[in-house]
Symmetry: C2
Subunit: 446 residues, 2 copies
Amino acid sequence: ELQAGVTCSCDYNTSADHRELAHSQQLLTGSIYSPGSPLFLPNGADMMNKLTACLRAHYPLFGFREVITPNIYKRSLWEKSGHWDNYANDMFEVRGRGATGVKENADIGEDEVFGLKPMNCPGHCLLFASQNHSYRDLPIRYADFSSLHRNEISGALTGLTRVRRFHQDDGHIFCRPDQIEAEIKKTMDFIDLVYGDIFGMREYRLVLSTRPAEKYIGSVEDWDRAERQLKSALDSSERDWTLNEGDGAFYGPKIDIILKDAHGKEHQTATVQLDFQLPQRFELKYDAPGKDGEDLSRETPVLIHRAVLGSLERFLALIIEHYNGRYPFWISPRPLKILSVSQKPEELQHIENVAAELAGVQAGKARKIPSRRPNIQVEIDTSARPLGKKIREAKNEGFNFIIVIGPQDAEKGGLVLRMLNQWDEARSLEILGLTLGPDGLAKDPK
Amino acid sequence: ELQAGVTCSCDYNTSADHRELAHSQQLLTGSIYSPGSPLFLPNGADMMNKLTACLRAHYPLFGFREVITPNIYKRSLWEKSGHWDNYANDMFEVRGRGATGVKENADIGEDEVFGLKPMNCPGHCLLFASQNHSYRDLPIRYADFSSLHRNEISGALTGLTRVRRFHQDDGHIFCRPDQIEAEIKKTMDFIDLVYGDIFGMREYRLVLSTRPAEKYIGSVEDWDRAERQLKSALDSSERDWTLNEGDGAFYGPKIDIILKDAHGKEHQTATVQLDFQLPQRFELKYDAPGKDGEDLSRETPVLIHRAVLGSLERFLALIIEHYNGRYPFWISPRPLKILSVSQKPEELQHIENVAAELAGVQAGKARKIPSRRPNIQVEIDTSARPLGKKIREAKNEGFNFIIVIGPQDAEKGGLVLRMLNQWDEARSLEILGLTLGPDGLAKDPK
Ligand SMILES: [Zn+2]
Ligand SMILES: [Zn+2]
């Protein structure tokens, strides 16, 4: 397997950091009107959307279903969840007509202020509570790509790594206590698949944090059973893992994933966090068969918070640096550029046809839904400048493929394809070949 | 062509409205903690995501590129855009550490409160302003599916049609004055393709609103030239259009699309709104060749706001009622259910294999990115209840396809497929056939 870390030959100390690359590749910009909220230009939005699409494509495999939940909730919700007491400084408050906050002891929903959500968990608890669940229906797994806001102090804001507005590949699993181990194993498999098979980042280690000595909720038996299941899942992962004894949150043990990037730098990315508390606070229940032949009983599920990539913004910063701005074809914001040789009308027409074919669109035609053709972002340079200059420019811009179309191509229908910056040449050619068809492809060996 | 309006035989007056269907089909729920912000359960999120994916798939055809922009901006931005003076009552204010609003005459970004965005236009103006543009680069077209908030009074909130939090298939085109007609034509083509070819809603009319008699900005010449181009685009659309003389906004003329649903009810959905004002307020410029051989000049672009579906939530309400809860395969939240006949292990294993095949996933395998296989949401009922009961239940739940797998299927690999509720049978079979392969499909004629 091709490992990005192995083939990377750049000198990290002299290579640009993600902020410079993000700027020079026109991925994003910032604004004094919204400090800490990146504005993604088309190239950056393209990469963010591809990260999202990649995770989304694997959700059926792991039983997750996406949900869409509100950005703002009344203060009462954040009191119920505990955020109002413990997290208020890092949250934004939302006011307006009907949410003035002036009325004391108001009913829920009356004049209360809203909080702008810093995380999705309370909303997912509301979703779980809105339906009846039998023990047979569990686990219920919700995924959510919603935007989140945390009020970092302005001095701490930097690039894509410390922001106020971000997105997570967030997920919550509501399961029975006896399902913890299987769910943790599945999550570890998901993490392995995404980091290893998709990004070629196979170097990471796992850290288990267990019950604190003093302050914790739930019974020692619940903790012990959960920790046994976590350890068993970690053992069967065949990865190095270490123990941070007593370092878990007061509401449950967790596993952190520490990733080593192409340059040997470590990043804390994915987290798997057990939670005995939130289901209690939201009085979540499922119907379970009664013990000893009794009637149905109402049991409290365990909640597992999990993110595979974590903050998509932070992960984007990581892969910008990991690939040093030279991305694999599938996630590249500049996969392909077509250059004209001359300005002849038939040549320009042929370029338009090829571009439409590559982009998977046909003028005036609806795409089949669901589509079986990936969209490929195609850029075109038909300016009257010398070809050599246009090629140099396209190379500098970091396009994965450059296609040159001349007058003879317009007649014969052939193309000259130049390969550039490819991490995974075979895979990219396959994708492009499927798109162009096997006969449309004439590869330039240089 | 199959027109949904023609084949619909339901009695609108006795059919449920979208709120009842949305509830009974488990599309969404509401919460007292966030009035006016629907919480989409997996089925509803699935439909919302498919609407988004459908629009997204056609963006390359019409030259739009997606961007991702902040949800909150400092008060100064909303003063610049004019929203603070004209729209403040309908906006939510966002406060927090570093955004207390107490400091008077503060610098931008210092202690100012934020506004939660009700629309994307100002953010897109910031994006445009962040780069240099030549007249050759125009039009620049940004698309954005961001969540938007408008503080509707609580008494006005209802279902998916009057909400506080919603999403638009929002787009902004920055173009030269001479490009207006071509852009309007393209937008009309886009609207026609989506409503007609994808949803089979071919009955809509167009309304042009022109310069108000008294209060307007810009020169009469600019207005006249723009209105001439709008009229010319309308004429070439070959659709009925009417004139609302003097009914345009003070900042530009607009075209409204009034859609007639399957039940003859009219809905205002898409809008195309010209704007001479916002580019001035944001001092947007592009480099244009100087007149009479002079040097480059700096010109102000025209802004076109456009939405094809408009509010995705409102459009979802519309199609729930339009299809009366019986959706075409591609957008159905319940496309397919597999039922077992017995509980034999080899039968259950075969069901799992078929389900994985249909869902386009393979255990432990990364999906190819970009994927050429659509995800199909597959549900399974392997309960020990009688088959007849399971079939009736699946029918009531509105599944498009029901697949029954018995012991003999596990041996031979065949399936019995029952078609249900199909608007477009040929198309659905094609999609399913591509997924299952031509030989895996044995259609039950009943
Ligand atoms: Zn969580
Ligand atoms: Zn707008």
